[in-house]
């Protein structure tokens, strides 16, 4: 009883890896008092329908995100550089489907 009670629980982002999936995917967020608590709640909220075999939780404040208003300088310069997609090669037939 030494630390004062939190007025509000911090927000956590939840990432779940499905049986087939190789990577964890963001599936939502929830409020919880600490990491273990967040993990249990994520289990009860986001894996009730066999969605997952692994869960990550991370404090939302620990995520540094790009700003929506910066999307011009961040993303649009890539728009006209279609040559960065490897679509201009002739693939020998014996390679088959890639």
């Amino acid at each position: 009883m030494s630390t004062p009670a939190l007025k509000e629980w911090p927000l956590w982002e939840v990432f779940v890896r499905s049986k087939q999936g190789l990577e964890h995917k963001h599936c939502g967020s929830l409020h919880a008092s600490d990491a273990q608590h967040a993990l249990q709640m994520a289990r009860d909220v986001y894996t009730r329908r066999q969605e997952g075999v692994s869960i990550w939780v991370v404090r939302s404040v620990d995520i540094t995100a790009s700003e929506p208003h910066e999307k011009g300088e961040f993303f649009e310069p890539a728009g006209d550089k279609i040559y960065r997609h490897p679509t201009f090669y002739d693939i020998p037939e014996e390679v088959g489907h890639m």
């Binding site: 009883m1 409020h31 608590h37 709640m41 009860d44």
Partner: protein, 272 residues
């Protein structure tokens, strides 16, 4: 807490009264915990308690189906759940109590989540030990149900123990509520260790386990959690030991059954 080695004896069927005791425990606590659906303190706990209920009701269904097969004579999981009355139920009295601090007579109080958590903790701590042993039951059906139920109840124990520690070692109010719930509910656990004919018979044939044999393990589990939660275990109660598992219940079970059974009794045989 080692799993029992598989016994060499030929497979047997557990006594019906013993299976009903296990089934009724699961059904009545499942029904009680479902009362939080839509009323949970936060939405995550609302879902969590509904998950817990569905696990317990699922366990009850498997056990009732097993009993129905043994009994024959038209018995089904539904007749066992919905068309038996208070004296037929074999659940611990602990599990039929409302989610509120001690009440006299038919008084009603506000639901108290500390009471819910403490009860789930005391019962899950027992059932982790019981299901562990029953995996080696000479009744193969019961052994299979035990293996499935053990995984579920391990999570119930983790969940309730976690909240018990948070409440006990939390704010002044949460500590006081958890201690009050513990003082209220602990005396009912004495029933775990009392003798019953069904448990003795089940143990004798290797199909069941008498919880008396699990008492030291349960004490260790409970005491460690209470210490972490800075809660004080009340002195052992003297006096009346509840007898729910013998069919002698508190006034509360009738209300639980009235709500749980009314639909099936108003529309017998209905399907949806």
């Amino acid at each position: 807490m080692n799993a029992v080695e598989p016994r060499m004896a030929a497979s047997v069927q557990a006594p019906v009264d013993y299976l009903l005791h296990l089934a009724d425990n699961a059904l009545i606590l499942g029904q009680r915990n479902a009362e939080w659906c839509g009323h949970g303190p936060i939405i995550e706990e609302d879902l969590s308690m509904a998950n817990n209920s569905l696990d317990l009701i699922g366990q009850a269904r498997l056990l009732y189906q097993h009993v129905a097969t043994l009994q024959g004579n038209g018995a089904t999981e539904d007749t066992l759940a919905y068309f038996r009355d208070v004296p037929d139920f074999r659940n611990y009295t602990l599990l039929e109590l409302p989610h509120s601090p001690a009440l006299a007579g038919t008084a009603r109080g506000d639901r108290d989540y500390a009471t819910t958590i403490v009860r789930n903790f005391l019962y899950s701590a027992l059932m982790v030990l019981v299901w562990e042993r029953l995996q080696g039951s000479t009744d193969p059906q019961l052994a299979a149900i035990a293996a499935k139920s053990l995984k579920e109840v391990r999570y119930h124990l983790r969940h309730s123990r976690d909240w018990l520690v948070r409440f006990g070692d939390g704010t002044d109010e949460s500590h006081a509520r958890a201690q009050a719930a513990l003082d209220h509910l602990m005396p009912y656990t004495t029933e775990f260790w009392a003798d019953s004919a069904a448990e003795t018979a089940a143990q004798a044939q290797g199909a069941g386990v008498h919880p008396g044999a699990l008492r030291a393990d349960w004490d260790a589990l409970v005491d460690a959690a209470l210490q972490e939660a800075t809660l004080v275990r009340p002195a052992p109660a003297k006096g009346y030991v509840t007898e729910g598992k013998q069919g002698i219940h508190s006034e509360h079970l009738g209300f639980v059954l009235a709500e749980m059974q009314s639909l099936a009794r108003a529309h017998p045989g209905a399907t949806w």
